[in-house]
Subunit: 286 residues, 2 copies
């Protein structure tokens, strides 16, 4: 049993806003934007709302892609995010290697990387975020349990979140020791979430096996059910970001959720204010 | 000719968010909130979008009222706003009377009052706002024209905006000299906009004739067309707030618009950043 993470009422206007922002990356033609909105209103109305928000958002965003005629409007933003964080790689590695608890620092940086999320429409500052995250304690902190589980694990599955952020995950993977790592990316474009193209751009395949998960109908990748079944065969599951928390926290699976709280809905769900750093193991496995 | 203030794409998710916030003033029952959202999605989809945003919002908010079973969910908030500013009345009057340019100070305070708007969901601080507004220059400033027109006018029509803010307008009216003032309130509840009940709560009828304007079908009040026709017979028209700017700026009428920019859509329309104080006369009348 996990949190009740089916779509909240507040997610409905928020998803519509995101759909509009997605379209505006490609066009400012009022007619196209209105077509996107009307289609979005229709999809939101016809969908059932007893599923996690990303499941509905996936259908909505696919329709937007179709209407604006661009499969992956965040492609260039993702490329820039990847490049931006790759340029920081040695510096970030230095921060980890010179720290007292390298694993803790790597986890904290991996959470800091979660701020790189164009999906929420909030501005961010990477340097400032890194410093703040390193100075600040977790609001929910199951680090000790995670550390023990990492030590015992031979196989680890990580559910990746955003492009750019995935570079921080690469740094974390390097601190996990000699394990077999599987890293899930999205099988399809979904805002700025990490896809196999991003994994290639940051050479993630050098240290992890890349697998794809899909949120709905798509011509490749595992369904979420399949991905969770696969992940449960491993010794340890780590989930990055709010979206994966929404998708995975309802499953009966021992999962460590690492993310920064970015909206009121999630803040209420985990009872921690916006901006909190969360390292959360599902209740029944503590 | 005025600004193109028909509903912008960005208004669509924003109106839906406001509809949800309105419902949440009365209930947190998920079923009711979902019913409100689904009805809202339907209304937004079926309406034409070539009209000002408040026209569509009116229909949306009426439906919300019906579904939550409360005609005016902002009633208590409006009452508190009125009382709050009435308690500041003598202090505010003192600020005006001791200032060098009393009319200017009264106008500035009347614009400061425009920050009292629960509709946008932003927090506000009245004292801080008053001080900031008094210190800050108008971003768009047709004060000299307005001052001249006030001196010449015998009859003045004011379109009121929010409850609470209307108390500031009362202070302004006192500085206008011996004129015949007509003050338009909403004929129906519309978020925290001023209605005839608010006008009574602050005894506005002592210094102005109160008239009602409606945004759509309603059993009393003038339509916007009728209100503008009426207002054009007076010597001077003053419009308070963003909502009235959206409703009235398309009319061929000499109107002074007084407001604080509160959202990106209006910021773009008047080419001034959020938070700007605007004292704007329609272009063709300058």
């Amino acid at each position: 049993m996990g949190c009740d993470m089916r779509l909240y009422p507040e997610c409905v206007p928020c998803m519509l806003k995101q759909a509009l922002e997605m379209a505006k990356l490609v066009t400012h033609d009022r007619k196209v934007l209105e077509r996107v909105l009307r289609a979005g209103l229709g999809i939101l109305q016809s969908e059932r709302w007893n599923v996690p928000q990303p499941i509905v958002a996936f259908k909505l965003f696919r329709k937007v892609s179709e209407l604006i005629g661009v499969e992956d409007p965040y492609r260039e933003i993702k490329r820039q995010s990847n490049r931006f964080v790759m340029n920081l790689y040695d510096e970030l590695e230095g921060i980890i290697e010179s720290s007292k608890d390298k694993l803790m620092t790597a986890i904290k940086l991996s959470i800091a990387g979660n701020i790189i999320d164009y999906g929420t429409g909030r501005p961010f500052d990477v340097d400032e975020t890194i410093n703040r995250v390193l100075r600040t304690d977790f609001t929910i902190n199951h680090y000790k349990l995670l550390r023990e589980d990492i030590e015992k694990a031979e196989t680890i599955v990580i559910f990746g979140d955003n492009a750019g952020e995935a570079v921080f995950d690469k740094l974390l993977i390097e601190q996990l020791g000699d394990k077999k790592i599987t890293y899930f990316v999205r099988a399809h474009p979904f805002i700025n979430d990490v896809t196999v193209i991003d994994a290639e751009e940051i050479s993630l395949e050098d240290i992890a096996e890349i697998k794809e998960v899909r949120f709905g109908d798509w011509d490749r990748g595992m369904s979420i059910d399949e991905a969770v079944r696969f992940a449960k065969k491993s010794d340890l599951i780590i989930s990055k970001g709010q979206g994966n928390f929404e998708l995975l926290s309802g499953y009966d699976a021992k999962i460590y959720f690492l993310f920064i709280v970015k909206c009121d809905v999630i803040a209420r769900a985990v009872n921690a204010p916006i901006g909190s750093q969360i390292l959360l193991l599902n209740q029944k496995y503590r």
